[in-house]
């Protein structure tokens, strides 16, 4: 964990990149956090606005218990500490899409404290990432500047919608890890049903914090907890896709290294990402940073609930991706990577379990992640649209296992079923098409004898170059239409050709 991973080469030396994410996830709730107005996406401008959302004089917030429950669920899903006492604060600043002149958020006492989740990277490594906190807050409205040349418009539909802000520790060390973390958070909230994870509709977005430091400094930070070892960070706001997150981190790391290597310094600024150019640009500098004048919101009582309620919620949680992953590893003997790929999506995991149930888990995993996902990917289909059911795939694996067909034939049968040329039980397809494997050694010997007799030169050669036996295997398979049991063919050939 602490060795310098993913070093970035610069002209003056090696650099490390350090990444932290603040993920804003909209709570899947029909109503807003404090006003009772609808939080439904897609309404006409200012249709979902209550008197509270519009900050009319004398209006007061009342907490939505359902949203609190979703925050607790999410906190439990992040293996985090649930704070039975928390408090809402006001974050004060002026902006037309913030009608109250302050956002109700949680500053010093969030509802969820520290936690930890795992991410998996392509190398197959599993990396723990610390969660700093999760807090509940209101979203702001939307300012629209392009409808008229000299006027701006405000849509308050989002004003007051409940958000969970999930803050990571600065534990990510590359663009890949940042992207994997964002993706994992999305997977977790989707499993829990606490956020729909829909980034196009703005249900999820991330503020991406990036800094770079000379190789070795991160280790010093880990040992001392002293942030001085890390470089000055920039915060890129409202990144609304996992791909963009990766781009932001890559771009920022490179940009910062170039500045530092040419003798410059990094400004602690807030940036915006432009997907069109793949670059970041300044939104506001540190000098323009707001003093938010946080203080406890006197309109709301502290948020208090019992451990019993938390326990009740905990008991109702579905199996979470990481738990599932570990179970797949233990129960089916899968690698961490395969287990993770399968566990991260509820439908895929369910499909896999239906295939693996009572069978060789590894073989099932290979077929699901290899053949099936490959074919689905190519056809641009989701697991739910798979032309091959879990039952069919299971039967196909059974046919391999009991030697009825070879793996190669199984792939052909798979392709027939996937393309819709065959439907129904794979056993019937094999029967009907006469694809059953020939295990009758007499029949195979007969074919082998014929081939050796017809190719005496090659038969001589094999004794010197045993590798050329493969040519004979091919001949036999061709003659038997691929149905000969490959193991039996090899054995007989070796015997007859005198290959050790």
């Amino acid at each position: 964990m602490s060795e310098p991973r993913k070093l970035l080469k610069g002209s003056t030396g090696d650099w490390e990149v350090v990444v932290g994410l603040e993920v804003h996830a909209q709570v899947s709730s029909k109503a807003k956090l404090f006003s009772g107005a609808s939080a439904e996406y897609g309404a006409g401008p200012n249709e979902n606005v209550s008197l509270v959302d519009a900050a009319m004089p004398g209006m007061l917030p009342v907490i939505n218990k359902f949203c609190v429950e979703q925050a607790i669920r999410t906190g439990l899903g992040l293996n985090a500490k649930i704070n039975l006492w928390s408090r809402f604060d006001r974050k004060n600043y002026f902006y037309p899409d913030l009608p109250q002149g302050y956002q109700i958020s949680q500053y010093k006492d969030p509802i969820v404290g520290e936690g930890e989740i795992e991410i998996e990277v392509e190398s197959g490594e599993t990396i723990p990432i610390g969660i700093e906190r999760l807090h509940l807050e209101q979203d702001a409205g939307k300012s629209i500047h392009d409808l008229a040349p000299n006027e701006s418009f405000v849509d308050l539909n989002r004003s007051g919608v409940a958000l969970m802000e999930i803050v990571s520790k600065p534990d990510m060390r590359s663009a890949e890890e940042g992207a994997a973390y964002f993706s994992k958070i999305r997977t977790i909230v989707r499993h829990l049903g606490t956020c729909d994870g829909n980034m196009e509709e703005g249900s999820m977005r991330a503020d991406v914090n990036v800094s770079v430091c000379p190789a070795g400094n991160y280790q010093k930070y880990r040992e001392t907890g002293d942030f001085k070892y890390l470089g000055t960070r920039t915060e890129t706001k409202n990144v609304n896709s996992i791909r963009f997150t990766r781009q932001v981190i890559d771009y920022e790391a490179r940009r910062q290294i170039e500045i530092l290597e040419s003798g410059g310094t990094i400004d602690q600024e807030t940036l915006l990402f432009d997907p069109a150019t793949g670059e970041t640009r300044t939104m506001r500098s540190k000098e323009d940073a707001h003093d938010y004048r946080y203080f406890p919101d006197p309109d709301l009582l502290p948020l208090e609930f019992s451990q019993e309620w938390v326990d009740e919620i905990k008991a109702s949680l579905p199996e979470l991706p990481d738990q599932k992953k570990h179970r797949f590893m233990e129960e089916y003997g899968l690698s961490a990577y395969d287990a993770s790929v399968l566990a991260m999506h509820r439908a895929q995991a369910a499909y896999f379990e239906a295939v693996a149930n009572g069978r060789d888990g590894k073989l099932a995993a290979n077929w699901v992640t290899g053949e099936l996902f490959g074919a689905l990917n190519k056809a641009d289909k989701e697991i739910g649209d798979s032309p091959i059911s879990a039952g069919q795939l299971g039967s196909l694996i059974d046919l391999i296992k009991d030697g009825t067909i070879s793996g190669k034939i199984a792939k052909d049968v798979f392709a027939l079923m996937f393309d819709g040329e065959e439907t129904g039980d794979p056993a019937d397809i094999v029967e009907k098409r006469g694809l059953k494997q020939v295990t009758d050694t007499g029949a195979i010997e007969k074919v082998v004898d014929e081939i050796i007799a017809a190719n005496p030169k090659q038969a001589e050669q094999v004794k010197e170059k045993p590798k050329t036996m493969g040519w004979f295997v091919g001949q036999v398979m061709q003659k038997t239409g691929g149905k000969a049991n490959p193991q039996a063919v090899n054995e007989i050939l070796r015997k007859k050709l005198g290959v050790e």
Partner: protein
């Protein structure tokens, strides 16, 4: 029979029920009185047509014998309460033209019980002031004058319009709000009864917010019984206000006249201020004697944190106000400047034009005490002292059932006398802010006149949610004081 407007609320209620008079003629009598009292400047808006309609509806109900507790009783409403379809100004230019599409919970409760709305009462801008001189709509004039002197005096504030209109019999009773003394101090200066109930007793929903953790609505009335009737109607749990408390509302009128035998009255020595007029000190002793005669036992208590109450108040209240008033930005409602080129200058000029000096002063103080680097030294420290003040009261109420203090450090003063020195003005609330900081119920009852013939009040404070004991004590004081003086009707034009 006396003129209709001279009846107390209780007398009027009974006369209406007995159909001795009609709601319509009652309302007309009050509208007439208001019309003649323009010089007092107590009303910002008179809703005459609306009042007559409500009165007519009340008469229909009274005819059928199913009138509510306040059926046909005409009231004045402090202009801090949002009233549906009726201009609501909070005494500020920045709310120009603001007509809410909703009704505050407290006023809705009053209309539910049959009361008639005469109009909206003048007040200090956003309830920030102790003399009603910060109102955009001009100062209110106290119906009371010094003997042989026609200098215009302040009715106190911020509920100055409420106190003046009740004292001048321009309404049967009025609503007020009290953040640091804004009901009790004007009540003291106008010989009316003002009650600030326990924080959470009345809903704050629909009341323009000044300092959310301190604001509380309450009645200003002619006597203790009227105040009891008013509070019963105004109070009650409201799910729309998270700080409103779900407790049954007792019948406060029913406790009036109950024996005070064995009740312990605390006299906090820290409320004896240097330079306080002797008359006030004498009245305070007199009040203690009255309660002793009524069967109470006097107990000396000490509240050493009292001296920090005003400084704490002038950190906490402006801090909350600076945030509460951020919504008045010219974007959604109220005044918007015509002089701007971008969003920032629109905000700046709107707020510069829309807010008066006192409001600006408090927004500045509040912004300052919440700023990075000052928060711990001011706001956080003030909250800690506030907790100590609360704890001190809790301890004191182990030893006694009520606390007796003066209501205000002086009688009514002349307009303009204290406007140049905000700190002098702030000192008006020295006896009352503690009750707000601790969330306690408190009330001012008229107790006597000073040498110049101006009224003085005494304050009682009670345990949280023990308004019943508070009313018992108030009634005993009222009975003993036998206060009957009335201002001359000099304003009747």
């Amino acid at each position: 029979m006396a003129s209709i407007t001279d009846l107390t609320l209780a007398e009027l209620r009974d006369a209406l029920r007995e159909k001795k008079i009609s709601a319509a003629e009652t309302t007309d009598a009050y509208l007439g009185a208001i019309e003649k009292a323009g010089e007092l400047n107590a009303f910002v808006t008179v809703t005459a047509d609306n009042a007559r309609e409500m009165a007519k509806a009340s008469d229909d109900k009274l005819a059928k014998g199913d009138g509510g507790d306040l059926e046909g009783v005409p009231l004045g409403i402090k202009d801090l309460f949002c009233t549906e379809g009726v201009l609501t100004t909070a005494g500020s230019h920045i709310l120009d033209g603001f007509k809410p599409v909703y009704e505050s919970t407290v006023t809705a409760n009053l209309w539910r019980d049959g009361a008639v709305c005469l109009g909206k009462l003048n007040m200090d801008e956003f309830a920030m002031g102790s003399s009603n001189e910060t109102s955009f709509y001009g100062n209110v004039i106290n119906p009371w004058r010094r003997k042989g002197d026609d200098t215009a005096l302040t009715p106190g504030g911020s509920s100055g319009g409420s106190a003046a209109s009740v004292a001048a019999h321009l309404c049967a009773a009025a609503t007020g709000t009290d953040t640091g003394g804004s009901i009790r101090q004007p009540a003291s200066l106008t010989a009316t009864v003002g009650v600030k109930p326990t924080y959470g007793r009345c809903s704050r929903w629909g009341i323009v917010a000044f300092a959310s953790s301190l604001d509380q609505a309450g009645p200003i009335a002619r006597d203790v019984r009227d105040a009891a009737i008013m509070l019963k109607s105004m109070a009650g749990h409201d799910p729309k206000d998270s700080t409103s408390i779900d407790r049954p509302v007792p019948d406060y009128e029913a406790v009036l006249g109950a024996s005070l035998k064995g009740l312990k009255i605390g006299i906090p020595k820290e409320y004896r201020l240097d330079g306080m007029p002797e008359e006030i000190e004498a009245l305070w002793s007199q009040g203690a004697d009255w309660l002793k005669d009524a069967g109470c036992e006097m107990v000396d208590v000490s509240l050493p944190m009292t001296k920090y109450a005003l400084p704490v108040y002038y950190i906490v209240a402006p801090a909350e106000a600076s945030s509460n008033l951020a919504r008045y930005d010219g974007v959604k409602y109220g005044h918007r400047t015509k002089d701007f080129d971008d969003i920032l200058s629109m905000y700046e000029n709107t707020r510069a034009e829309g807010f008066g000096d006192e409001v600006k002063r408090r927004i500045l103080i509040g912004t300052y005490v919440l700023s990075a680097g000052y928060y711990d030294a001011y706001y956080l420290r003030a909250q800690k002292v506030r907790k100590k003040i609360f704890d001190e009261f809790t301890d004191a109420f182990e030893k006694c059932d009520l606390l007796l203090t003066p209501s205000a450090p002086s009688a009514a003063f002349g307009l303009g006398e204290k406007t140049d020195d905000p700190v002098q003005m702030y000192l008006n609330d020295v006896f009352t802010v503690t009750g707000n900081l601790a969330g306690l119920p408190g009330a001012s009852v008229p107790a006597g006149l000073d040498a110049q013939g101006l009224p003085l009040g005494l304050q009682l404070l009670a345990r949280p949610f023990d308004e019943e004991t508070l009313f018992k004590g108030m009634y005993a004081l009222e009975q003993a004081a036998g206060f009957e003086a009335r201002p001359e009707n000099w304003w009747v034009g």
